[in-house]
């Protein structure tokens, strides 16, 4: 397998309003292989969406990506690109789908034109050719009666149809990486399954790598090859999906699983994680999960690095050194 995306030590900062800066994303590193799906899982506010926006330098001002951060696409250093060279990467190498299809499409343009625009931004083709490609894309994402839907406006489509259009836009310039930021959160449950199925199918047929950003562990199982769990601006655990589900090791990951209701097995009381996710201004020194962690011990006052649990399983917790037992 070849590596298509490599993110190293990504740090994103925002002014804190008092002359200093806060770091909602603080040293995130991960990589993506060709054809692979990596799920970035975490609660809202953990920095997962900002991480995805940073891949194409889409962080809204006054936020900024700190120097020392790296995003590499093959041998291209994305964060060093500006202007036209950056534009050529957006959509062409990485396509993006956003959370809310109701507001992510421009209300005053026909959906066919919104797709064709993405094609013509990267390929030198005629309007007619772009339109015919848009038609193919609409068919590919499973929109019935695609010919007439080309001339529909977003408000004339249902939420699920709009999200399919968003996917078609993201695919317009045939990117090798698809970033899906909570692609199903705003949709009905039945529609969620359909959209996820479309994404699975496209990954298989197009051989794309997918970065799936979600707060929902339920959609990760059986869909992602690997999972990275984020907490307070950092990745706290990373493992192949099967292993993470079998043996969640970081106390935060364990807490996440304990708070997800299960349909099989005996009925159990859910155990929510105590307290709430602190904002970046209130992150503690040392391990950031420490104040909410049932297993915190003396060493938690020091910030842990990502430590190996098993060869391809790492977590940001000192317990990894002792195989889970307190030292």
């Amino acid at each position: 397998m070849s590596r298509v995306l490599e993110v190293e030590n990504l740090r994103i900062s925002f002014p804190d309003g008092q002359g200093g800066r806060l770091y909602p994303v603080d040293g995130v590193s991960f990589s993506l292989e060709r054809g692979e799906t990596l799920a970035l899982v975490g609660e809202s506010g953990c920095g997962k969406s900002l991480t995805s926006l940073a891949l194409l330098q889409l962080i809204p001002p006054p936020g900024r990506i700190e120097s020392g951060s790296t995003v590499r696409l093959g041998d291209i250093d994305v964060l060093g690109l500006r202007g036209e060279r950056l534009r050529q990467i957006r959509g062409r190498r990485i396509g993006m789908i956003f959370q809310d299809p109701m507001t992510s499409l421009n209300p005053v343009f026909k959906v066919g034109d919104q797709i064709a625009e993405g094609i013509r931004a990267h390929f030198d083709v005629s309007r007619a050719e772009a339109r015919s490609r848009s038609f193919n894309l609409l068919q590919e994402v499973g929109i019935p009666d695609a010919r007439s839907r080309l001339d529909a406006y977003p408000h004339q489509l249902s939420g699920g149809m709009r999200q399919r259009v968003m996917i078609a836009i993201a695919l317009a310039a045939e990117p090798e990486i698809l970033v899906a930021d909570e692609p199903t959160t705003a949709l009905d449950v039945t529609v969620q399954a359909q959209i996820l199925e479309v994404l699975d199918r496209l990954r298989a047929t197009r051989g794309m790598a997918v970065l799936l950003i979600t707060h929902d562990l339920g959609i990760v199982a059986g869909r992602a090859d690997r999972v990275a769990v984020m907490y307070a601006g950092q990745i706290v655990e990373e493992a192949p999906t099967a292993r993470l589900f079998a043996r969640p090791s970081h106390p935060y990951t364990q807490g996440l699983f304990a708070s997800v209701p299960r349909l099989t097995g005996p009925v159990q009381r859910l155990t929510p994680i105590g307290g709430s996710v602190p904002p970046p201004s209130a992150w503690p020194a040392g391990c950031r999960f420490r104040p909410r962690c049932p297993k915190a011990f003396e060493k938690s006052e020091l910030a842990p690095p990502l430590l190996p649990v098993e060869p391809d399983h790492r977590m940001r917790c000192w317990l990894a050194e002792t195989g889970g037992a307190r030292g």
Binding site: R90, D100, L105, N106, A172
Partner: protein, 323 residues
């Protein structure tokens, strides 16, 4: 669409009828009438006044007078101005071109320069340029146009002699002057009144356009547009601006009648022969027929502007249906 147009036209007719009736009654309720001035100055005898009153129908009951006015209106006859002794329609028609020139130039300037500056400000929000333009637009907004007009007329027109300080055309211009020469002369005369009226209006346009753009720039579809790989120009002008036009269209709908009927102050300062000064004089003279004519024109324009605004909305926004 056809049904919408029919319904809106019917609505417009009702609005106009109410406006006309109200105006007619209010005008008669104001103290004095067209002839009381002549009477006070003892220029005319009691008998002469009475015969004039009879001649203009002012001795008739109010209802009869109103009936006569509406009857004339149906024939396209707005009556004869008491002050000028000429048909109201021809007086209005005479003044209309100058007013359209002034109002048209101001609207054009707003629609180009005003919108462009507002968009620029929003895109460069917080920059030095944005802050200076904000100061300038607040200054323009706070400046009374009659004062600015006087200062410009005196400074640019009289002291520096760069542009004509008053009037619509050079009276000494050769009547055989070519089209180009006459156009240049008109533009020179237009410059100061247009500048005066534009200072306030462009300030408002800029503020509206800036705020509308800032709202749209926060919309999630802007992220989609950028993530597709569109140029910043396409993102700003195609995706953002199209959506930020709506508040400005409303603003223009409100302005259209004001600019077309003319600014009383600016026309007075620059001796611009437009409708504004004509209407102002008509109020002073209690020139009922002329005043009703000018008011009717304004009312028609207000109704037409609101119709036009709705049409433009429907044209710009596919979610708006004319039904």
């Amino acid at each position: 669409m056809r049904r919408w147009l029919l319904r809106r036209t019917a609505q417009a007719a009702v609005t106009l009828a109410i406006a006309i009736t109200l105006l007619f009654v209010l005008m008669r309720a104001a103290p004095g009438d067209p002839l009381s001035r002549l009477q006070g100055d003892r220029l005319l005898s009691r008998e002469e006044i009475a015969s004039l009153r009879e001649r203009y129908g002012l001795d008739q009951p109010l209802l009869t007078q109103f009936g006569a006015f509406v009857g004339g209106l149906a024939r396209g006859d707005l009556g004869v101005s008491i002050e000028y002794g000429r048909p109201v329609t021809s007086l209005l028609a005479e003044r209309l071109p100058a007013t359209l020139q002034l109002g048209g130039a101001v609207i054009l300037l707003n629609f180009t320069l005003g919108l462009w500056l507002g968009v620029r400000q929003a895109v460069r929000r917080g920059s030095r340029e944005d802050r200076w333009l904000t100061v300038a637009s607040l200054g323009g907004y706070a400046t009374p146009s009659f004062w600015l007009g006087l200062v410009l007329a005196w400074l640019v027109g009289v002291k520096w002699g760069l542009l004509p300080p008053a009037g619509h055309s050079d009276p000494l211009l050769d009547s055989g002057a070519g089209f180009l020469e006459r156009t240049v002369d008109l533009l020179r005369h237009l410059a100061l009144p247009v500048l005066t009226l534009s200072a306030v209006t462009i300030a408002t346009t800029m503020r509206h356009q800036r705020n509308a753009m800032l709202d749209v720039l926060r919309d999630p579809f802007m992220l989609t547009a950028r993530a597709k790989g569109l140029s910043e120009r396409a993102v700003t002008w195609r995706h953002a601006w199209r959506n930020a036009l709506f508040p400005v269209v409303t603003l223009f709908g409100l302005w259209l009648p004001i600019l077309v009927t003319g600014s009383v102050f600016v026309e007075a300062v620059f001796a611009w022969p437009g409708l504004g000064s004509l209407a102002a004089a008509a109020v002073g003279h209690r020139d009922y027929p002329l005043l009703m004519g000018a008011a009717l024109l304004t009312a028609v324009l207000v109704v037409a502007a609101s119709l036009l605004t709705d049409l433009v909305y429907a044209l710009l926004d596919p979610r708006v249906r004319l039904s």
